[in-house]
């Protein structure tokens, strides 16, 4: 029983990180209808900035810088590449982001050379023991940070003017434009936010607790798990992204323990396939409807 509780807590901690990634992914998709395959490279940019500056600036400042860098990188991709191709097909734009992803990832891996640094200094590799449970501190901090950020996001999405504009534009671009909503501003903030969330996520991903793998190709591979999280939740649903993230985290943690570590990655995709067979638009996704 204790093992199970431990697994659930750790799984939820991982799930919170996936949820942050998937949420950014969904926000971009809702604002621009572009599937952003460069999400993994945003994660690496944030992580790399932390690694490069934490000795000089100290961890907290480096972490902040990493988050800001990932956010600005996302904004830059949107302004330079996506905004200028407004009439382009969304599928071509998705392919464009794959190109961006390859370039950024290869450059960062090249800069890291043989290094695969861990960047979760304040909490990494210091498990907590309480009431017979052993919990990774990284996952616990991730869970708390995830809950705070996700709650803040949903409050803003539901109640702020930004949220109203964002939802209006996602639902009907033309009607939103006729309301005086500046579509380029909505789109830019969506990318900025998604980048910042990726920058937060990497602070937990490149740790011994989370994956045992430091910053590098491994981190990029973990970031790809956000895709099934977003897809099984429903690509256009913010709630779905969070639920999808948690499902993926739990699936990974439980299958690693009860089946095998090697199986845990494919388990995630098996769960995704299973859910898509039953609900083709994901758990919370809106079904494709023909416009009336």
């Amino acid at each position: 029983m204790n093992t199970f509780l431990q697994l659930v807590l750790n799984g939820l901690g991982k799930g919170a990180v996936y949820a942050l990634l998937a949420l950014g992914f969904v926000v971009i998709f809702k604002a621009t209808e572009v599937v952003n395959f460069a999400h993994g490279s945003l994660v690496l940019i944030g992580g790399y900035m932390v690694y490069a500056t934490k000795d000089a600036l100290g961890w907290p400042a480096a972490a902040a810088l990493g988050i800001v860098s990932a956010a600005l990188a996302a904004l830059l991709i949107e302004r330079l590449l996506i905004a200028h191709a407004r009439n382009a097909d969304v599928n071509s734009l998705a392919l464009l982001t794959i190109g961006v992803d390859v370039i950024i990832t290869e450059e960062i891996v090249r800069r890291l050379r043989a290094d695969i640094p861990f960047i979760g200094d304040p909490y990494d590799a210091q498990p907590l023991q309480a009431a017979g449970l052993t919990v990774f501190r990284t996952q616990l901090v991730a869970l708390i940070v995830g809950i705070v950020l996700i709650t803040a996001f949903f409050l803003a999405f539901r109640f702020s003017s930004w949220g109203v504009a964002m939802r209006a534009q996602a639902e009907n671009r033309e009607a939103a434009a006729l309301m005086g909503i500046r579509s380029s501003r909505v789109t830019a903030t969506a990318w900025l936010l998604a980048g910042a969330l990726a920058g937060v996520a990497v602070l937990f991903m490149a740790t011994q607790d989370f994956s045992g793998a430091g910053l590098g190709r491994g981190t990029h591979a973990i970031a790809l798990i956000a895709f099934p999280a977003a897809i099984l939740g429903g690509l256009d649903s913010t709630v779905g992204a969070v639920v999808g993230g948690l499902i993926v985290g739990l699936t990974e943690a439980l299958s690693a323990q009860y089946v095998s570590f090697e199986f845990s990655k494919s388990a995630v995709f098996l769960v995704m396939l299973l859910i898509l067979v039953i609900r083709p638009s994901g758990l919370f996704g809106t079904r494709e409807l023909s416009r009336v």
Binding site: R167, A168, E171, N172, A176, L178, M179, G180, I181
Partner: protein, 284 residues
């Protein structure tokens, strides 16, 4: 000329909207408007009549700068609101100048609540005071929207959705309201209600361009009217003049034509034998 009504100086015979030589195309070849000239007075309701495909919606899209979202563009001419060119602005900038359109088919945000729809409409307001004044006005005009504030807009009836669409557009406090077929698909009783509301909005000092196929309703509400035929202005005049004209009587106020083919033939014939006495053709 308008000594009986007090107006602010300088606004006497001001045109809020003037369209000159406007031509619009979709893609390379589809000509939707050809050298259209129109003017809307600061204190008037202009009805734009015409059949399907006459270019009515295109005209409103051109004014509200949303042509690009439909793959269209202005190829010639200009659109001025007061003294400013609108045809080079983006849709949000047009709204900030005080020109707001209610698109065809209402297009409320179906998944958002009535209240959120109104909030979205207020995002284009120039200031918070404009917004709060607009909110009061909308509450007075449409008490039903306050009752349904927390309901999803998609669950409203067609008439209520049309009210929401108009209310949402008023939330940014426009000086000129563009309405695209507000009577479409509504029961006659609701059409009458919408007509009264448009009259009230006008009485409160907002100029209106009303694009309609329902000419009876439009000519009742409007003081001026124009008829669009395949992308060109065919007739203009006061609403009474047009309502009295044989062409308009036959084509838009009479019984329904059995087929569009016949209606088109009739239209062409009527235009060829147009009486010229009371109607001024708009000289381009």
């Amino acid at each position: 000329m308008c000594a009986d009504r007090p107006r602010r100086p300088g606004e006497a015979v001001r045109r809020v909207l003037s369209v000159r030589g406007l031509s619009v195309r979709y893609g390379r070849s589809v000509r939707a408007l050809e050298e259209v000239d129109l003017e809307v007075g600061a204190d008037s309701v202009l009805a734009v009549l015409g059949g399907n495909g006459a270019g009515k919606s295109t005209l409103l899209r051109a004014v509200s700068a949303t042509l690009r979202l439909h793959g269209g563009g202005v190829t010639a001419g200009e659109i001025r609101f007061r003294d400013e060119r609108l045809d080079r602005l983006d849709p949000a900038a047009v709204v900030r100048r005080g020109v707001v359109a209610v698109p065809e088919g209402r297009q409320v945000f179906a998944r958002m609540t009535v209240e959120e729809n109104l909030r979205a409409g207020g995002l284009g307001a120039r200031s918070a005071s404009v917004r709060s004044a607009a909110r009061e006005r909308v509450a007075e005009l449409f008490p039903v929207l306050a009752e349904r504030a927390s309901q999803r807009a998609g669950l409203l009836s067609g008439g209520e959705q049309q009210m929401l669409a108009i209310g949402r557009a008023l939330m940014s406090g426009p000086e000129l309201l563009l309405l695209d077929e507000p009577s479409l698909g509504l029961a006659p009783q609701m059409v009458g209600r919408i007509a009264r509301i448009i009259g009230e909005i006008h009485a409160q000092g907002t100029a209106v361009v009303l694009v309609e196929q329902n000419a009876t309703m439009a000519l009742e509400v409007a003081d001026h009217a124009a008829v669009l035929e395949v992308g060109r202005i065919a007739l203009t005049g006061t609403a009474e003049e047009l309502a009295a004209s044989d062409d308009v009587q036959r084509l838009y106020l009479g019984g329904h034509a059995e087929s569009t083919e016949r209606a088109e033939a009739e239209q062409a014939e009527a235009l060829a034998h147009r009486p010229r006495r009371s109607l001024t053709r708009w000289a381009g």
